[in-house]
Subunit: 117 residues, 2 copies
DNA sequence: ATTTTTTACCTTGCTTTACAAAGTACTCTG
DNA sequence: CAGAGTACTTTGTAAAGCAAGGTAAAAAAT
């Protein structure tokens, strides 16, 4: 175990856990392809790389949470535009509740911390 | 890939990412041993099992984020009581900032979602 | 006093997954 | 058509969660 590597990565670990959720939220707004999803995530400080995003999208696809259709691009090869399936929409609602729970739990722990420091 | 298994686990994945953070927060309040950490996590709906918690505590220990001392128990074998090292305290402050960023990012995405649905 | 139960911590084997890096393929520009 | 840019995929490696089983100490039951 490389200590520094471990320590450095805890912060990114924290973000990664919410990655599927963030991606479903982004796709729920409008049909969008991988390149623009990456940009949206970066805009929100949720840094991901291709090697993570593409397999993740394919997992969501084969779990029938996403569908996609090919669309021509004016500046390169065609793109896969993703959309939520009804199963995906349903899950998104559930994740929203789960997020609210987590948000509440962590913020409650934080408020204890901040009282004592 | 088992679809249902994958779908079922996204919610817990979300929580897991914040696990180290939550554990450091809990330990920051007072010296505490694994059994009581489990109870605190459950109280906050952050469900974890022994097979996850013990290796995690050991990783935090070998990264010098935690220290521990053995204490006698009145109802069984001795317990390892964990405490934050100064390195752990420093990391906790950094994680607090990272959490606030994540919280802000996700809640911003959510507010877009809720506007459109 | 020995056995059983409870409590506490640890380990093993399996599976999932993030990521870097390399690969494939399409399209536009010159 | 060669090269640059864009888009999607695959491979190999390492990290980590979890179920299940293991070790050990102390208390309770017999």
């Amino acid at each position: 175990m490389n200590k520094d590597k471990y320590t450095d990565n805890i912060q990114s670990q924290m973000r990664k856990g919410s990655l599927e959720f963030a991606i479903l939220l982004i796709i729920s707004r409008k049909k969008i392809y991988a390149g623009d999803i990456l940009k949206e995530l970066k805009k929100n400080k949720l840094i991901v790389v291709e090697g993570t995003l593409y397999p993740l999208l394919n997992r969501l696809k084969s779990s029938e949470l996403l569908s996609h259709e090919w669309k021509e691009s004016k500046s390169g090869p065609p793109r896969k535009y993703y959309d939520l399936t009804s199963k995906g929409k349903k899950l998104l609602k559930a994740l929203l509740e789960a997020w609210k729970d987590l948000d509440h739990s962590i913020n409650s722990l934080i408020s204890h911390y901040e009282k004592n420091s």
